[in-house]
Symmetry: C2
Subunit: 421 residues, 2 copies
């Protein structure tokens, strides 16, 4: 469909037809949900053997009883498995509790209360700012908002954030203390930061000496296709600013959304600085679960086999949505979308002033989408053009219906907007 070729009358006829299709769907009283990146039950079933731990000994090779206190940094076996998977040193891996958001909150909270590696605590500064690639992940923005940190939006393109803008901002404003990134299969566009982008993030000059990048590698192993692009490892010899990166991962979408494990990877200096406060904060994270995860994950190779099973469940769901979008809007300038090679989200970009209306129309027809503005700081999508679609949780049999509602609502809202002109 190429709306630009249509006359005013043709647009109005098309709008009437779209309204009719939408009204027919409303009548079906559907109850569908593409709002959150939740794994579906079949995915969760893949990890049930993880719970088969009742006959384990919970002993380390040296005989230490993991059921007891200790090992603040995590069970050594799991630190080693994660280090192999992530190509880092086990000594730089902290295994945390069941979600990485809490680790991010803790790192931010420590910077706020105590300062980064001896610098002034952020709570003592009049202004603290962060760079936020947009569209981005709503929970990152909520974290920053909670700590009263100002958010500077930077557009996220196909290769990552607009690096010319990022470099200029961080070089000239010492109040800019950090940046949140989802560098692989970005939430919500699904793009992967290019090597050139990663190089520039590693090498750029920052006015603030305590500038830190929250490298939320949430989808590090969440490939949907074998040819999915890889992400350059920031913990490599060529990085002159190793202290700049805190990398976060979790198994929430590998094992259990409610009971996985999370990990933080950072440089020796950051690790030592964190450790002092961590000793006050906790005794150890859940080592029973860590031990079970070490047994279950085993190795990088084993993880890849496991993730291929996830992909086999998820890929068809993405493909149903994308096929429907292609069929309805191929070549159309007013409705564009991403076709990610991994992760949990598709982003649809509408004409300005249309996204909230699409979400509203979907809701009327029984399809829940993430609320409008969710991918923008303070929920302010000034263009009102971003829609996040999360196909994972819905039943595969419902996906065609989801796609129909989505397409009908996109057509309706887009034509409505075009007819206003």
């Amino acid at each position: 469909m190429d709306y630009s070729t249509l006359s005013t009358e043709a647009l109005q006829t098309s709008l009437a037809a779209a309204k009719k299709r939408h009204a027919a769907l409303v009548k079906e009283k559907l109850d569908l949900d593409l709002s959150r990146g939740k794994p579906c039950p079949e995915q969760l079933d893949l990890s049930m053997p993880l719970l088969n731990i009742c006959n384990s000994t919970f002993k380390s090779p040296k005989g230490t009883d993991y059921r007891n206190y200790g090992f603040l940094d995590g069970v050594p076996e799991l630190r080693e498995v994660l280090a192999e998977i992530l190509s880092v040193d086990p000594a730089n891996v902290l295994v945390g509790g069941s979600n990485s958001l809490n680790l991010m909150y803790d790192v931010l909270s420590r910077a706020y209360c105590f300062g980064v590696c001896g610098a002034t605590p952020w709570c003592k500064l009049p202004v603290v700012k962060f760079i936020c690639p947009v569209p981005g992940y709503d929970r990152h923005f909520t974290l920053l908002e909670t700590f009263g940190i100002q958010m500077i939006s930077v557009p996220l393109g196909e290769d990552g954030p607009d690096m010319d803008l990022v470099e200029e901002l961080v070089a000239n404003d010492q109040n800019i203390k950090g940046m949140f990134c989802v560098p692989r299969f970005s939430n919500p566009t699904g793009i992967v930061y290019s090597d050139a982008t990663v190089d520039r993030l590693m090498n750029m000059r920052t006015a603030a000496t305590d500038f830190r990048i929250f490298w939320d590698n949430a989808y590090f192993a969440h490939d949907l296709y074998p040819d999915a692009p890889q992400l350059k490892n920031v913990f490599c010899d060529g990085n002159p600013n190793l202290d700049r990166f805190y990398m976060f991962v979790s198994t929430s979408k590998i094992t259990f959304a409610s009971g996985g494990i999370s990990a933080l990877v950072c440089s020796d200096k950051n690790f030592a600085s964190m450790h002092k406060y961590l000793t006050a904060q906790t005794i150890n994270y859940d080592k029973i679960n860590q031990y079970a995860h070490a047994q279950f994950l085993q190795s990088k190779e084993n993880l890849q086999q496991h993730m291929a099973k996830h992909a086999a469940i998820l890929r068809p769901k993405f493909e149903v949505i994308i096929a429907a979008l292609r069929q309805a809007f191929d070549g159309c300038k007013e409705v564009r979308w991403t076709e990610p090679k991994g992760g949990y989200f598709i982003t649809i970009t509408t004409m300005p002033r249309v996204a909230h209306r699409v979400i509203e129309l979907c809701k009327k027809a029984g399809l829940k989408l993430t609320e409008a503005g969710c991918a923008h700081p303070l929920h302010m999508d000034d263009l009102d053009s971003t829609i996040r679609v999360a196909p994972s949780y819905a039943n595969i049999d419902d996906l065609d219906l989801c796609a129909s509602v989505l397409v009908a609502s996109l057509e309706y809202a887009t034509l409505e907007e075009l007819c206003k002109k």
Copy 2:
């Protein structure tokens, strides 16, 4: 032994004999440890059925899949079991991660960053002070030290802290923002706060409107004897200051030290205020483990039966130490000790300037005790007279030896001090 009846020569003879007994023990090259309140392997074995969850459905009665995201406040079934056990409303129970220290850190950190229920954040105040009953728990003091909070020591007696002093302090100093208490089987003396003490804590007037008591009810179910004293419930109708209390519990010494669950109980107002920040901090704590705990703990009655098994393991260990102390120092003013009805610790009070020497002498003879000063803020035991003894972890067969080293070192150091006079 009554040292006061001995002549100078008799003291010196006794010291020589004590040195000899100590030297004989040093020769045995022992490797004993009474330093930390860790459960022993037999105690941990009691909870292995908790891990027998591989065939569970992880479904709520309404069909919600607990393996997925959600239920920030905890699995409803576990909130209900804990509420029954603690005689509180399930709506006031937050189930957290694997240790309550982290919940305390979080509450303190939120007060520091964001303020208590709308009051000025503590990080914006020039001075914040807390009252610390002494002797107390080292990790509480470390928490306060980490946040730069000044600690005011108040003596802990047999019925709780010196309430005349507490009341006077909190009524007249608005910089005093809180107090840490271990109200039942206090760490390290094992005393239980009397009803009168609890009443005064509930009713006292505080200059600070954002004054909060961290009620660390770590040993709420950890009775060693059936006649152990009960603790008055602060979440009762008669408490005019329900908002004053944050109560913390955990199953670290009920199920697994490394993988239990923790809980925070607080008033509706505190709960609502906390919730706003908790939503930013995390998605959910480990619900797989929470579900398993709900199945395992079942009810108050079942918990009591389970804790009776713990007591059967622990009680003989306490009794070996106490019997040895009675035999050696009955009626002696220079060495006194507590005989707790529950919890994990015995406190020995020596003459001034002697405690560190006892700990040093024990170490020489292969018995590790908690470091001197541990029960005091900033590790400053000005009198140098408090020794914490934790009998739980050592093997029962080693307890006699532990007691011998302890007694010999106490005799040696006490006589040495008496001979100086």
